[in-house]
Symmetry: C2
Subunit: 160 residues, 2 copies
Amino acid sequence: MAELDELDQALLRELQRDARRTNRELAAATGVSPSTSLERVRSLRERGVIRGFLVDLDLEEVGRPVQALIAVRIRPPSRANIEAFREWASRLPETVGVFVVSGGEDFLIHVAVPDNKFLYAFVIDRLTQRPEVADVRTSVVYEHIRSPVIEPATPARRRR
Amino acid sequence: MAELDELDQALLRELQRDARRTNRELAAATGVSPSTSLERVRSLRERGVIRGFLVDLDLEEVGRPVQALIAVRIRPPSRANIEAFREWASRLPETVGVFVVSGGEDFLIHVAVPDNKFLYAFVIDRLTQRPEVADVRTSVVYEHIRSPVIEPATPARRRR
DNA sequence: GATGAAATAGATCGTAC
DNA sequence: GTACGATCTATTTCATC
């Protein structure tokens, strides 16, 4: 787990608000020189704290206004079945994300599709074609809120 | 819904791979001049297709290696209760995202916490303190895969 | 709309503290 | 680890097609 001091945390906060802020803006917002913030952000990437930079698409504008979470039970839940399904599901064009979970189900697939008809067809035609799929439970997503800022749970440590 | 021609789609694909690609790289990758790609990306932002740019944090490195999806049932599921709970849940520091859903439950809260002890305490101490929470079901997330590229479901349209 | 050149602004690196 | 300043590179604007 990475050690993150006050400056690292401040930079992460700023970048979560807007990942395209220029290095100069970051430096000004955190009260250090541009070369320092540049070096720190590079270090955060190298240490794997920052995995990359993503674009936040509006799923409605992109023709996928209907979202759903589809809980899937795999039987038998062998490693072979789980891994095969995970690979298959995460590659579908409808898939936004895949959660591999414990509990009543083995997977939760987050999908975004053009309409309800498409969603229904996806569930009853495509998902159930997989022989390892034993059970499917669909929940329509009315709204998906992402937290704007995730704070590190690490206590701040001094690095100087 | 936005109309997206071939160039728009190509730019979205490139930006989803790495949202920090420079405008020059985008232009080279899509075969247009830098000023054209700059203008197109700006248009995508103005039209709301691109909602913003996010940093992809590694939740483990940030001290939150344990993820869970917590299904919550609200009783009665009145607008007042639903909205109050949504606001409360989406502001918690443990929360990564909140899904408002149909079906057996009303919410699915995606949380990331330091360890299982913390998760358990979160569920039995904090969630159940809310009077409108009637039922809670926790699934631990072993793995969360995000789709690297979401393709528009819109058929390409000509804009020239 | 798209282009290419010119002006503005930012990223980056060497050097010093 | 940090700051300053010079250099290199990218962004942005504008006249033109």
